[in-house]
Protein backbone atom coordinates (compact mmCIF):
# COMPACT_ATOMS: atom_id res chain seq x y z
CA UNK A 1 0.00 0.00 0.00
CA UNK A 2 1.26 3.52 -0.83
CA UNK A 3 2.51 5.67 1.99
CA UNK A 4 0.55 8.71 3.07
CA UNK A 5 3.37 9.88 5.34
CA UNK A 6 7.06 9.12 5.27
CA UNK A 7 9.57 10.69 7.64
CA UNK A 8 13.24 9.77 7.12
CA UNK A 9 16.05 10.61 9.50
CA UNK A 10 14.20 13.65 10.73
CA UNK A 11 16.10 15.87 13.13
CA UNK A 12 14.44 18.77 14.89
CA UNK A 13 15.93 20.99 17.51
CA UNK A 14 14.77 24.18 19.21
CA UNK A 15 16.69 27.00 20.74
CA UNK A 16 15.81 27.53 24.37
CA UNK A 17 17.72 30.62 25.49
CA UNK A 18 21.33 29.91 24.54
CA UNK A 19 20.80 26.19 24.62
CA UNK A 20 19.88 23.98 21.67
CA UNK A 21 17.39 21.27 22.62
CA UNK A 22 17.15 18.30 20.27
CA UNK A 23 13.55 17.11 20.12
CA UNK A 24 13.77 14.56 17.33
CA UNK A 25 16.97 12.66 16.64
CA UNK A 26 16.84 10.98 13.25
CA UNK A 27 13.26 9.78 13.47
CA UNK A 28 11.82 7.46 10.82
CA UNK A 29 8.09 6.94 10.41
CA UNK A 30 5.91 5.52 7.67
CA UNK A 31 2.12 5.76 7.63
CA UNK A 32 0.33 3.87 4.86
CA UNK A 33 -2.67 5.45 3.19
CA UNK A 34 -5.90 4.68 5.01
CA UNK A 35 -4.24 4.03 8.36
CA UNK A 36 -5.46 5.43 11.69
CA UNK A 37 -2.24 5.95 13.62
CA UNK A 38 -2.02 6.96 17.25
CA UNK A 39 1.22 8.56 18.40
CA UNK A 40 1.73 8.30 22.11
CA UNK A 41 4.44 9.31 24.48
CA UNK A 42 5.16 11.29 27.62
CA UNK A 43 5.12 15.08 27.69
CA UNK A 44 8.14 16.54 25.94
CA UNK A 45 8.82 13.33 24.05
CA UNK A 46 8.43 15.03 20.68
CA UNK A 47 5.10 13.53 19.57
CA UNK A 48 3.46 16.90 18.91
CA UNK A 49 6.55 17.95 16.99
CA UNK A 50 6.12 14.89 14.78
CA UNK A 51 2.50 15.85 14.22
CA UNK A 52 3.42 19.45 13.37
CA UNK A 53 6.03 18.27 10.86
CA UNK A 54 3.55 15.93 9.17
CA UNK A 55 0.93 18.70 9.06
CA UNK A 56 3.38 21.16 7.54
CA UNK A 57 3.13 23.52 10.49
CA UNK A 58 6.80 23.20 11.39
CA UNK A 59 10.00 22.41 9.54
CA UNK A 60 12.62 19.78 10.19
CA UNK A 61 16.26 20.81 10.57
CA UNK A 62 17.31 17.83 8.51
CA UNK A 63 15.85 14.69 7.02
CA UNK A 64 12.95 14.38 4.63
CA UNK A 65 9.23 14.72 5.20
CA UNK A 66 7.03 13.34 2.44
CA UNK A 67 3.28 13.65 2.89
CA UNK A 68 0.63 12.81 0.32
CA UNK A 69 3.37 12.23 -2.21
CA UNK A 70 5.04 15.63 -1.78
CA UNK A 71 8.37 16.57 -0.15
CA UNK A 72 6.92 19.25 2.07
CA UNK A 73 10.25 20.04 3.74
CA UNK A 74 11.28 21.77 0.52
CA UNK A 75 8.18 23.98 0.22
CA UNK A 76 8.30 27.66 1.12
CA UNK A 77 5.80 29.28 3.50
CA UNK A 78 3.22 30.14 0.85
CA UNK A 79 3.61 26.76 -0.84
CA UNK A 80 3.20 25.01 2.48
CA UNK A 81 0.03 27.00 3.24
CA UNK A 82 -1.43 26.03 -0.14
CA UNK A 83 -0.41 22.43 0.40
CA UNK A 84 -2.08 22.34 3.83
CA UNK A 85 -5.31 23.75 2.44
CA UNK A 86 -5.44 20.97 -0.18
CA UNK A 87 -4.25 17.93 1.71
CA UNK A 88 -4.66 18.26 5.48
CA UNK A 89 -7.52 18.70 7.89
CA UNK A 90 -6.63 19.77 11.43
CA UNK A 91 -8.44 18.82 14.61
CA UNK A 92 -7.16 20.57 17.74
CA UNK A 93 -7.55 19.77 21.41
CA UNK A 94 -9.39 23.03 22.12
CA UNK A 95 -11.31 22.98 18.80
CA UNK A 96 -9.94 26.36 17.68
CA UNK A 97 -13.23 27.52 16.21
CA UNK A 98 -13.73 31.18 15.36
CA UNK A 99 -15.95 32.50 18.16
CA UNK A 100 -17.53 35.16 15.97
CA UNK A 101 -18.70 32.74 13.28
CA UNK A 102 -21.65 30.36 13.26
CA UNK A 103 -21.02 26.62 13.05
CA UNK A 104 -21.62 26.55 9.30
CA UNK A 105 -19.37 29.55 8.68
CA UNK A 106 -16.63 27.88 10.70
CA UNK A 107 -17.01 24.74 8.61
CA UNK A 108 -16.95 26.79 5.43
CA UNK A 109 -13.59 28.45 6.23
CA UNK A 110 -11.30 26.00 4.33
CA UNK A 111 -13.57 26.27 1.28
CA UNK A 112 -12.93 29.99 1.06
CA UNK A 113 -9.49 29.06 -0.22
CA UNK A 114 -10.99 27.14 -3.14
CA UNK A 115 -12.70 28.33 -6.31
CA UNK A 116 -16.05 26.84 -5.30
CA UNK A 117 -19.13 28.98 -5.72
CA UNK A 118 -21.28 29.95 -2.75
CA UNK A 119 -23.83 27.23 -3.66
CA UNK A 120 -21.11 24.61 -4.01
CA UNK A 121 -19.61 25.64 -0.68
CA UNK A 122 -23.01 25.37 0.97
CA UNK A 123 -23.50 21.88 -0.45
CA UNK A 124 -20.11 20.76 0.93
CA UNK A 125 -20.87 22.31 4.33
CA UNK A 126 -24.26 20.55 4.45
CA UNK A 127 -22.61 17.19 3.83
CA UNK A 128 -19.87 17.77 6.43
CA UNK A 129 -22.39 18.84 9.07
CA UNK A 130 -24.51 15.81 8.29
CA UNK A 131 -21.50 13.50 8.66
CA UNK A 132 -20.85 14.84 12.15
CA UNK A 133 -24.58 14.87 12.99
CA UNK A 134 -24.92 18.58 13.65
CA UNK A 135 -27.03 19.84 10.75
CA UNK A 136 -29.52 21.24 13.25
CA UNK A 137 -26.86 23.33 15.01
CA UNK A 138 -25.54 25.07 11.89
CA UNK A 139 -26.53 28.59 12.94
CA UNK A 140 -25.21 28.33 16.47
CA UNK A 141 -22.08 30.14 17.56
CA UNK A 142 -19.37 28.01 19.22
CA UNK A 143 -20.23 29.47 22.63
CA UNK A 144 -23.73 28.03 22.22
CA UNK A 145 -22.43 24.49 21.70
CA UNK A 146 -21.11 21.87 24.11
CA UNK A 147 -17.46 20.79 23.99
CA UNK A 148 -18.34 17.62 22.11
CA UNK A 149 -20.44 19.54 19.61
CA UNK A 150 -17.65 22.07 19.11
CA UNK A 151 -15.22 19.26 18.39
CA UNK A 152 -17.68 17.77 15.91
CA UNK A 153 -17.85 21.14 14.17
CA UNK A 154 -14.05 21.18 14.12
CA UNK A 155 -14.09 17.72 12.56
CA UNK A 156 -16.61 18.91 9.96
CA UNK A 157 -14.27 21.83 9.21
CA UNK A 158 -11.36 19.38 8.84
CA UNK A 159 -13.39 17.20 6.48
CA UNK A 160 -15.16 19.75 4.36
CA UNK A 161 -12.42 20.22 1.76
CA UNK A 162 -12.04 16.44 1.50
CA UNK A 163 -8.37 16.26 2.57
CA UNK A 164 -6.34 13.08 2.31
CA UNK A 165 -5.00 13.34 5.83
CA UNK A 166 -6.53 14.26 9.17
CA UNK A 167 -4.15 15.54 11.84
CA UNK A 168 -5.57 15.28 15.35
CA UNK A 169 -3.78 16.85 18.29
CA UNK A 170 -5.26 15.42 21.50
CA UNK A 171 -8.74 15.62 19.97
CA UNK A 172 -10.43 14.31 23.12
CA UNK A 173 -8.15 15.93 25.66
CA UNK A 174 -10.79 18.46 26.68
CA UNK A 175 -13.78 16.13 26.70
CA UNK A 176 -15.40 13.76 29.20
CA UNK A 177 -15.08 10.02 28.61
CA UNK A 178 -18.44 9.48 26.98
CA UNK A 179 -18.12 12.44 24.62
CA UNK A 180 -14.52 11.46 23.88
CA UNK A 181 -15.67 7.98 22.89
CA UNK A 182 -18.29 9.46 20.57
CA UNK A 183 -15.66 11.61 18.89
CA UNK A 184 -13.26 8.70 18.56
CA UNK A 185 -15.98 6.52 17.05
CA UNK A 186 -16.61 9.29 14.56
CA UNK A 187 -12.92 9.41 13.65
CA UNK A 188 -12.83 5.64 13.36
CA UNK A 189 -15.84 5.73 11.07
CA UNK A 190 -14.23 8.36 8.87
CA UNK A 191 -11.14 6.17 8.66
CA UNK A 192 -12.98 2.97 7.91
CA UNK A 193 -15.79 4.23 5.67
CA UNK A 194 -14.17 7.16 3.91
CA UNK A 195 -10.61 5.83 3.94
CA UNK A 196 -9.21 8.95 5.59
CA UNK A 197 -5.65 8.59 6.82
CA UNK A 198 -5.59 9.81 10.42
CA UNK A 199 -2.58 10.66 12.53
CA UNK A 200 -3.54 11.36 16.11
CA UNK A 201 -1.43 12.39 19.08
CA UNK A 202 -2.83 11.40 22.44
CA UNK A 203 -1.87 10.75 26.04
CA UNK A 204 -4.92 8.63 26.50
CA UNK A 205 -4.48 4.86 26.00
CA UNK A 206 -8.24 4.41 25.62
CA UNK A 207 -8.23 6.94 22.80
CA UNK A 208 -5.23 5.25 21.20
CA UNK A 209 -7.07 1.94 21.27
CA UNK A 210 -9.45 3.28 18.61
CA UNK A 211 -6.51 3.59 16.19
CA UNK A 212 -5.49 0.81 13.86
CA UNK A 213 -1.85 1.20 14.96
CA UNK A 214 -0.03 2.82 17.84
CA UNK A 215 3.54 4.11 17.97
CA UNK A 216 5.39 5.56 20.93
CA UNK A 217 7.84 8.41 20.86
CA UNK A 218 10.35 8.90 23.62
CA UNK A 219 13.34 11.21 23.69
CA UNK A 220 12.91 12.02 20.03
CA UNK A 221 12.88 8.44 18.76
CA UNK A 222 10.21 5.90 17.90
CA UNK A 223 10.21 3.10 20.42
CA UNK A 224 9.48 -0.41 19.28
CA UNK A 225 6.63 -2.06 21.25
CA UNK A 226 9.03 -4.63 22.73
CA UNK A 227 11.38 -1.90 23.98
CA UNK A 228 8.70 -0.01 25.88
CA UNK A 229 9.12 0.01 29.61
Amino acid sequence: MALAVELRQVVKHYRRGKEMVEVLSGLDLAVPEGEFLAIMGPSGSGKTTVLNLIGGLDRANSGSVTVCGERIDSLNGAGLARWRSRHVGFIFQFYNLMPGLSAERNVELPLLLTHLSRAERKAHVDIALEVVGLSDRRRHKPSELSGGQQQRIAIARALVADPTLLICDEPTGDLDRQTADEILVLLQTLNRRQGKTIVMVTHDQKAADYASRQVHVDKGMLIAPEDRP
Binding site: D58, A78, A81, R84, F90, N96, P99, L109
Partner: protein, 392 residues
Protein backbone atom coordinates in the same frame (compact mmCIF):
# COMPACT_ATOMS: atom_id res chain seq x y z
CA UNK B 1 -6.84 35.42 -1.20
CA UNK B 2 -9.27 38.35 -1.24
CA UNK B 3 -12.17 36.17 -0.12
CA UNK B 4 -10.00 34.87 2.73
CA UNK B 5 -8.89 38.40 3.61
CA UNK B 6 -12.48 39.59 3.61
CA UNK B 7 -13.54 36.78 5.92
CA UNK B 8 -10.71 37.45 8.37
CA UNK B 9 -11.40 41.18 8.24
CA UNK B 10 -15.06 40.63 9.06
CA UNK B 11 -13.98 38.38 11.92
CA UNK B 12 -11.66 41.09 13.19
CA UNK B 13 -14.32 43.77 12.91
CA UNK B 14 -16.83 41.60 14.75
CA UNK B 15 -14.37 41.46 17.65
CA UNK B 16 -14.04 45.25 17.90
CA UNK B 17 -16.81 45.63 20.52
CA UNK B 18 -14.71 43.47 22.83
CA UNK B 19 -11.81 45.87 22.35
CA UNK B 20 -13.85 49.04 22.21
CA UNK B 21 -11.56 51.02 24.53
CA UNK B 22 -8.40 50.34 22.57
CA UNK B 23 -10.19 50.89 19.27
CA UNK B 24 -11.51 54.25 20.47
CA UNK B 25 -7.93 55.32 21.20
CA UNK B 26 -7.21 55.03 17.49
CA UNK B 27 -10.46 56.64 16.40
CA UNK B 28 -10.22 59.59 18.81
CA UNK B 29 -6.49 60.06 18.29
CA UNK B 30 -6.88 60.24 14.54
CA UNK B 31 -10.01 62.37 14.81
CA UNK B 32 -7.88 64.86 16.78
CA UNK B 33 -5.08 64.82 14.22
CA UNK B 34 -7.41 65.24 11.27
CA UNK B 35 -9.53 67.85 13.07
CA UNK B 36 -6.56 70.03 13.98
CA UNK B 37 -4.86 69.56 10.62
CA UNK B 38 -7.96 70.46 8.66
CA UNK B 39 -8.81 73.41 10.93
CA UNK B 40 -5.39 75.05 10.64
CA UNK B 41 -5.18 74.31 6.94
CA UNK B 42 -8.69 75.75 6.59
CA UNK B 43 -7.33 78.92 8.14
CA UNK B 44 -4.46 79.04 5.63
CA UNK B 45 -6.83 78.15 2.82
CA UNK B 46 -9.38 80.76 3.84
CA UNK B 47 -6.72 83.43 4.16
CA UNK B 48 -5.09 82.62 0.84
CA UNK B 49 -8.47 82.38 -0.81
CA UNK B 50 -9.47 85.80 0.47
CA UNK B 51 -6.21 87.30 -0.69
CA UNK B 52 -6.37 85.55 -4.04
CA UNK B 53 -9.87 86.89 -4.61
CA UNK B 54 -8.57 90.41 -4.05
CA UNK B 55 -7.70 91.51 -7.49
CA UNK B 56 -8.51 91.02 -11.10
CA UNK B 57 -6.06 90.39 -13.90
CA UNK B 58 -7.25 93.53 -15.71
CA UNK B 59 -6.36 95.69 -12.71
CA UNK B 60 -2.86 96.86 -11.93
CA UNK B 61 -1.46 98.47 -8.84
CA UNK B 62 1.37 100.93 -9.11
CA UNK B 63 3.78 101.49 -6.21
CA UNK B 64 7.00 103.37 -5.78
CA UNK B 65 9.88 101.28 -7.15
CA UNK B 66 11.35 98.94 -4.54
CA UNK B 67 8.29 99.00 -2.31
CA UNK B 68 6.94 95.68 -1.17
CA UNK B 69 3.62 97.01 0.01
CA UNK B 70 1.47 100.11 -0.12
CA UNK B 71 2.61 101.19 3.34
CA UNK B 72 6.20 101.48 2.16
CA UNK B 73 5.24 103.31 -0.99
CA UNK B 74 4.85 107.03 -1.71
CA UNK B 75 3.77 108.66 -4.91
CA UNK B 76 3.56 112.37 -5.59
CA UNK B 77 0.34 113.80 -7.07
CA UNK B 78 1.93 114.51 -10.47
CA UNK B 79 3.18 110.93 -10.59
CA UNK B 80 -0.33 109.63 -9.95
CA UNK B 81 -1.64 111.78 -12.82
CA UNK B 82 1.05 110.42 -15.14
CA UNK B 83 0.17 106.88 -14.11
CA UNK B 84 -3.52 107.40 -14.83
CA UNK B 85 -2.56 108.67 -18.29
CA UNK B 86 -0.65 105.45 -18.99
CA UNK B 87 -1.39 103.38 -22.09
CA UNK B 88 -4.23 100.88 -21.80
CA UNK B 89 -5.96 102.49 -18.82
CA UNK B 90 -9.68 102.19 -19.35
CA UNK B 91 -11.69 105.39 -19.51
CA UNK B 92 -15.32 105.89 -18.56
CA UNK B 93 -17.94 107.45 -20.83
CA UNK B 94 -16.80 110.94 -20.00
CA UNK B 95 -13.19 110.07 -20.78
CA UNK B 96 -11.93 109.90 -17.22
CA UNK B 97 -9.49 107.11 -16.37
CA UNK B 98 -11.03 104.39 -14.23
CA UNK B 99 -8.28 104.59 -11.66
CA UNK B 100 -7.87 105.54 -8.03
CA UNK B 101 -4.91 107.23 -6.40
CA UNK B 102 -5.07 106.02 -2.84
CA UNK B 103 -3.79 106.84 0.59
CA UNK B 104 -3.37 104.09 3.11
CA UNK B 105 -3.06 104.54 6.86
CA UNK B 106 -3.36 102.29 9.87
CA UNK B 107 -5.86 102.85 12.65
CA UNK B 108 -6.15 100.96 15.89
CA UNK B 109 -9.55 99.66 16.87
CA UNK B 110 -10.65 97.31 19.67
CA UNK B 111 -11.51 93.74 18.66
CA UNK B 112 -15.08 92.82 19.57
CA UNK B 113 -14.08 89.48 21.08
CA UNK B 114 -11.12 90.43 23.26
CA UNK B 115 -11.26 94.19 23.44
CA UNK B 116 -7.59 94.40 22.56
CA UNK B 117 -6.52 96.89 19.95
CA UNK B 118 -5.65 95.70 16.47
CA UNK B 119 -4.71 97.44 13.26
CA UNK B 120 -7.22 98.14 10.54
CA UNK B 121 -6.46 99.48 7.09
CA UNK B 122 -7.89 102.94 6.46
CA UNK B 123 -8.01 103.56 2.74
CA UNK B 124 -8.59 106.88 1.08
CA UNK B 125 -10.00 106.28 -2.37
CA UNK B 126 -10.59 108.43 -5.40
CA UNK B 127 -13.94 109.19 -7.08
CA UNK B 128 -13.57 106.29 -9.54
CA UNK B 129 -12.92 103.73 -6.80
CA UNK B 130 -16.32 102.06 -7.06
CA UNK B 131 -16.20 101.81 -10.85
CA UNK B 132 -12.72 100.44 -10.45
CA UNK B 133 -13.91 97.86 -7.93
CA UNK B 134 -17.49 96.97 -8.85
CA UNK B 135 -17.37 94.03 -6.43
CA UNK B 136 -17.61 96.52 -3.56
CA UNK B 137 -21.30 96.93 -2.71
CA UNK B 138 -22.92 99.23 -0.15
CA UNK B 139 -25.09 96.97 2.02
CA UNK B 140 -26.15 99.46 4.67
CA UNK B 141 -26.41 103.25 4.73
CA UNK B 142 -24.70 105.14 1.95
CA UNK B 143 -21.26 105.93 0.75
CA UNK B 144 -19.17 108.83 2.07
CA UNK B 145 -19.46 112.32 0.61
CA UNK B 146 -16.21 114.00 -0.50
CA UNK B 147 -15.33 116.93 1.73
CA UNK B 148 -17.15 115.50 4.74
CA UNK B 149 -15.54 113.51 7.52
CA UNK B 150 -17.35 110.33 6.68
CA UNK B 151 -16.21 106.77 6.32
CA UNK B 152 -17.70 103.50 5.20
CA UNK B 153 -16.63 100.24 6.83
CA UNK B 154 -16.18 96.79 5.39
CA UNK B 155 -18.69 94.22 6.61
CA UNK B 156 -15.91 91.88 7.78
CA UNK B 157 -14.26 94.72 9.68
CA UNK B 158 -17.54 95.56 11.36
CA UNK B 159 -18.05 91.99 12.58
CA UNK B 160 -14.60 91.86 14.12
CA UNK B 161 -14.11 95.37 15.53
CA UNK B 162 -16.28 97.36 17.88
CA UNK B 163 -17.11 101.06 17.62
CA UNK B 164 -17.62 101.16 13.87
CA UNK B 165 -21.29 100.34 13.55
CA UNK B 166 -23.27 102.62 11.22
CA UNK B 167 -23.84 105.97 12.90
CA UNK B 168 -20.85 105.61 15.18
CA UNK B 169 -18.18 108.22 15.37
CA UNK B 170 -14.62 107.09 15.00
CA UNK B 171 -11.62 109.10 16.14
CA UNK B 172 -9.19 109.36 13.25
CA UNK B 173 -6.17 111.52 13.68
CA UNK B 174 -7.37 114.74 15.39
CA UNK B 175 -11.04 114.57 14.56
CA UNK B 176 -14.11 112.37 14.68
CA UNK B 177 -15.48 110.73 11.56
CA UNK B 178 -18.98 109.35 11.10
CA UNK B 179 -19.62 105.84 9.86
CA UNK B 180 -22.24 106.42 7.18
CA UNK B 181 -22.35 103.02 5.52
CA UNK B 182 -21.26 99.45 5.36
CA UNK B 183 -19.87 97.81 2.26
CA UNK B 184 -19.44 94.19 1.40
CA UNK B 185 -16.62 92.73 -0.58
CA UNK B 186 -15.56 89.11 -0.88
CA UNK B 187 -11.93 90.05 -0.82
CA UNK B 188 -9.49 91.62 1.65
CA UNK B 189 -10.99 95.09 1.11
CA UNK B 190 -13.91 93.86 3.17
CA UNK B 191 -11.65 94.22 6.23
CA UNK B 192 -10.94 97.89 5.54
CA UNK B 193 -12.37 101.31 6.28
CA UNK B 194 -12.70 103.68 3.31
CA UNK B 195 -13.01 107.41 2.98
CA UNK B 196 -12.56 110.08 0.32
CA UNK B 197 -8.84 110.31 -0.41
CA UNK B 198 -8.62 114.11 -0.56
CA UNK B 199 -10.57 114.61 2.69
CA UNK B 200 -8.49 111.95 4.40
CA UNK B 201 -5.17 113.31 3.10
CA UNK B 202 -6.08 116.75 4.38
CA UNK B 203 -6.91 115.36 7.82
CA UNK B 204 -3.67 113.43 7.91
CA UNK B 205 -1.78 116.39 6.44
CA UNK B 206 -0.34 114.25 3.71
CA UNK B 207 0.56 115.30 0.21
CA UNK B 208 1.69 111.94 -1.01
CA UNK B 209 -0.28 108.93 -2.06
CA UNK B 210 0.60 105.31 -1.45
CA UNK B 211 -0.60 103.68 -4.65
CA UNK B 212 -2.59 103.99 -7.80
CA UNK B 213 -4.86 101.20 -8.93
CA UNK B 214 -6.00 101.26 -12.53
CA UNK B 215 -8.46 99.30 -14.60
CA UNK B 216 -7.00 98.25 -17.95
CA UNK B 217 -8.84 97.91 -21.22
CA UNK B 218 -8.09 94.21 -21.04
CA UNK B 219 -5.73 91.93 -19.11
CA UNK B 220 -3.35 91.70 -22.07
CA UNK B 221 -2.74 95.45 -21.98
CA UNK B 222 -0.81 94.96 -18.75
CA UNK B 223 2.62 94.39 -20.30
CA UNK B 224 2.45 97.57 -22.39
CA UNK B 225 1.22 99.57 -19.39
CA UNK B 226 3.94 98.20 -17.16
CA UNK B 227 6.66 98.73 -19.72
CA UNK B 228 5.58 102.30 -20.43
CA UNK B 229 5.50 103.28 -16.75
CA UNK B 230 8.65 101.52 -15.70
CA UNK B 231 10.56 103.13 -18.59
CA UNK B 232 9.13 106.58 -18.03
CA UNK B 233 12.06 108.75 -16.79
CA UNK B 234 9.66 110.90 -14.73
CA UNK B 235 8.58 107.95 -12.66
CA UNK B 236 10.28 105.42 -10.47
CA UNK B 237 7.53 102.88 -10.04
CA UNK B 238 6.79 99.22 -9.88
CA UNK B 239 3.73 97.96 -11.71
CA UNK B 240 2.16 94.74 -10.50
CA UNK B 241 -0.92 92.93 -11.64
CA UNK B 242 -3.35 93.16 -8.73
CA UNK B 243 -3.71 89.40 -8.05
CA UNK B 244 0.08 89.04 -8.03
CA UNK B 245 0.38 91.90 -5.54
CA UNK B 246 -2.07 90.34 -3.06
CA UNK B 247 -0.58 86.90 -3.57
CA UNK B 248 2.79 88.41 -2.62
CA UNK B 249 1.30 89.97 0.51
CA UNK B 250 -0.30 86.70 1.60
CA UNK B 251 2.59 84.43 0.74
CA UNK B 252 4.40 84.64 4.06
CA UNK B 253 1.40 84.19 6.34
CA UNK B 254 0.05 81.42 4.16
CA UNK B 255 3.39 79.67 4.42
CA UNK B 256 3.48 80.09 8.21
CA UNK B 257 -0.06 78.74 8.65
CA UNK B 258 0.67 75.77 6.43
CA UNK B 259 3.89 75.09 8.35
CA UNK B 260 2.04 75.28 11.68
CA UNK B 261 -0.69 72.97 10.38
CA UNK B 262 1.74 70.30 9.26
CA UNK B 263 4.02 70.67 12.31
CA UNK B 264 1.23 70.46 14.88
CA UNK B 265 -0.55 67.84 12.80
CA UNK B 266 2.68 65.88 12.47
CA UNK B 267 3.32 65.85 16.23
CA UNK B 268 -0.25 64.78 16.93
CA UNK B 269 -0.02 62.19 14.15
CA UNK B 270 2.98 60.67 15.87
CA UNK B 271 0.93 60.25 19.04
CA UNK B 272 -1.96 58.78 17.09
CA UNK B 273 0.43 56.44 15.33
CA UNK B 274 1.60 55.01 18.66
CA UNK B 275 -2.03 54.66 19.69
CA UNK B 276 -2.79 52.78 16.49
CA UNK B 277 0.27 50.57 16.93
CA UNK B 278 -0.72 49.75 20.50
CA UNK B 279 -4.30 48.97 19.53
CA UNK B 280 -3.37 46.81 16.60
CA UNK B 281 -0.71 44.96 18.60
CA UNK B 282 -3.30 44.18 21.24
CA UNK B 283 -5.82 43.20 18.55
CA UNK B 284 -3.36 40.84 16.92
CA UNK B 285 -2.24 39.49 20.28
CA UNK B 286 -5.78 38.77 21.48
CA UNK B 287 -6.47 36.86 18.27
CA UNK B 288 -3.14 35.12 17.94
CA UNK B 289 -4.64 31.62 18.29
CA UNK B 290 -7.38 32.44 15.77
CA UNK B 291 -4.85 33.83 13.32
CA UNK B 292 -2.62 30.77 13.81
CA UNK B 293 -5.61 28.48 13.25
CA UNK B 294 -6.45 30.27 10.01
CA UNK B 295 -2.85 29.95 8.90
CA UNK B 296 -2.91 26.25 9.77
CA UNK B 297 -6.02 25.89 7.63
CA UNK B 298 -4.08 27.34 4.73
CA UNK B 299 -4.83 31.07 4.82
CA UNK B 300 -1.71 32.80 3.54
CA UNK B 301 0.28 35.67 4.96
CA UNK B 302 -1.24 38.02 2.38
CA UNK B 303 -4.79 37.50 3.63
CA UNK B 304 -3.70 38.04 7.25
CA UNK B 305 -1.75 41.20 6.32
CA UNK B 306 -4.64 42.62 4.35
CA UNK B 307 -7.07 41.93 7.20
CA UNK B 308 -4.93 43.69 9.82
CA UNK B 309 -4.27 46.61 7.50
CA UNK B 310 -7.93 46.87 6.64
CA UNK B 311 -8.97 46.99 10.28
CA UNK B 312 -6.37 49.65 11.07
CA UNK B 313 -7.33 51.73 8.05
CA UNK B 314 -11.06 51.42 8.74
CA UNK B 315 -10.58 52.61 12.33
CA UNK B 316 -8.42 55.45 11.04
CA UNK B 317 -10.99 56.40 8.42
CA UNK B 318 -13.68 56.51 11.06
CA UNK B 319 -11.45 58.86 13.05
CA UNK B 320 -10.83 60.94 9.93
CA UNK B 321 -14.54 61.29 9.22
CA UNK B 322 -15.22 62.37 12.82
CA UNK B 323 -12.29 64.80 12.78
CA UNK B 324 -13.28 66.28 9.43
CA UNK B 325 -16.92 66.54 10.47
CA UNK B 326 -15.93 68.29 13.71
CA UNK B 327 -13.67 70.71 11.83
CA UNK B 328 -16.45 71.42 9.35
CA UNK B 329 -19.13 71.83 12.03
CA UNK B 330 -17.10 74.07 14.33
CA UNK B 331 -14.95 76.06 11.93
CA UNK B 332 -16.22 76.05 8.36
CA UNK B 333 -17.28 79.57 7.45
CA UNK B 334 -16.13 81.06 10.76
CA UNK B 335 -14.75 84.55 10.39
CA UNK B 336 -11.34 85.09 11.93
CA UNK B 337 -8.83 87.87 11.57
CA UNK B 338 -5.13 87.71 11.18
CA UNK B 339 -2.29 90.03 10.40
CA UNK B 340 -2.11 90.60 6.68
CA UNK B 341 0.57 92.06 4.49
CA UNK B 342 0.11 95.71 5.50
CA UNK B 343 0.52 94.97 9.23
CA UNK B 344 -3.24 95.28 9.41
CA UNK B 345 -5.89 92.73 10.21
CA UNK B 346 -7.43 90.82 7.36
CA UNK B 347 -10.72 89.20 8.16
CA UNK B 348 -11.35 85.95 6.35
CA UNK B 349 -13.51 82.86 6.60
CA UNK B 350 -12.17 79.41 7.37
CA UNK B 351 -12.80 77.11 4.48
CA UNK B 352 -13.05 73.34 5.07
CA UNK B 353 -12.87 72.32 1.44
CA UNK B 354 -13.15 68.87 -0.12
CA UNK B 355 -9.44 69.07 -0.85
CA UNK B 356 -8.62 69.58 2.84
CA UNK B 357 -10.89 66.71 3.85
CA UNK B 358 -9.08 64.55 1.30
CA UNK B 359 -5.75 65.63 2.82
CA UNK B 360 -7.01 64.67 6.29
CA UNK B 361 -8.22 61.31 5.04
CA UNK B 362 -4.89 60.69 3.34
CA UNK B 363 -3.09 61.36 6.63
CA UNK B 364 -5.44 59.00 8.44
CA UNK B 365 -4.86 56.25 5.90
CA UNK B 366 -1.09 56.65 6.19
CA UNK B 367 -1.30 56.54 10.00
CA UNK B 368 -3.55 53.48 9.77
CA UNK B 369 -1.22 51.71 7.38
CA UNK B 370 1.85 52.46 9.50
CA UNK B 371 -0.04 51.54 12.67
CA UNK B 372 -1.07 48.24 11.15
CA UNK B 373 2.25 47.41 9.51
CA UNK B 374 4.27 46.10 12.45
CA UNK B 375 1.41 44.24 14.16
CA UNK B 376 0.53 42.66 10.80
CA UNK B 377 4.12 41.58 10.24
CA UNK B 378 4.21 40.17 13.75
CA UNK B 379 1.02 38.22 13.08
CA UNK B 380 2.40 36.54 9.97
CA UNK B 381 5.97 36.08 11.12
CA UNK B 382 5.18 34.34 14.36
CA UNK B 383 5.62 30.57 14.02
CA UNK B 384 2.22 28.91 13.69
CA UNK B 385 3.03 26.23 16.25
CA UNK B 386 3.99 28.86 18.86
CA UNK B 387 0.86 30.87 18.20
CA UNK B 388 -1.34 27.75 18.36
CA UNK B 389 0.07 27.02 21.80
CA UNK B 390 -0.62 30.60 22.79
CA UNK B 391 3.09 31.01 23.55
CA UNK B 392 4.46 34.55 23.68
Amino acid sequence: MLRGALTITLLNLAEIPKRIGASLVVVIGIAGVVGVLISVLAMADGFLNTMERTGRPDRAIVLRGGSNSELASTLARDATLAIMDGPGVKADDSGHAIASAEMVAIVELPLRQSGTAANVTLRGVGPAAFRLRPDIRIVAGRTFKPGLREVIVGKNAMTQFSGIDPGSRVALRDSEWTVVGVFDSDDSHGSEIMADVDTLSAAYRRTLFQSVTVLLDSPDRFDAFKSALEHDPRLSVEVVREPAYYARLSEQLGRILTFVAYTVGGIMALGALFGALNTMYSAVSSRSVEIATLRALGFGAGAILISVFTEAVLLSLLGAVIGAAAAWAFFNGNAVNSLGGNFTQVVFHLRVSAGLVATGILWAVVIGLLGGLFPALRAVRRPVVDALRGAV
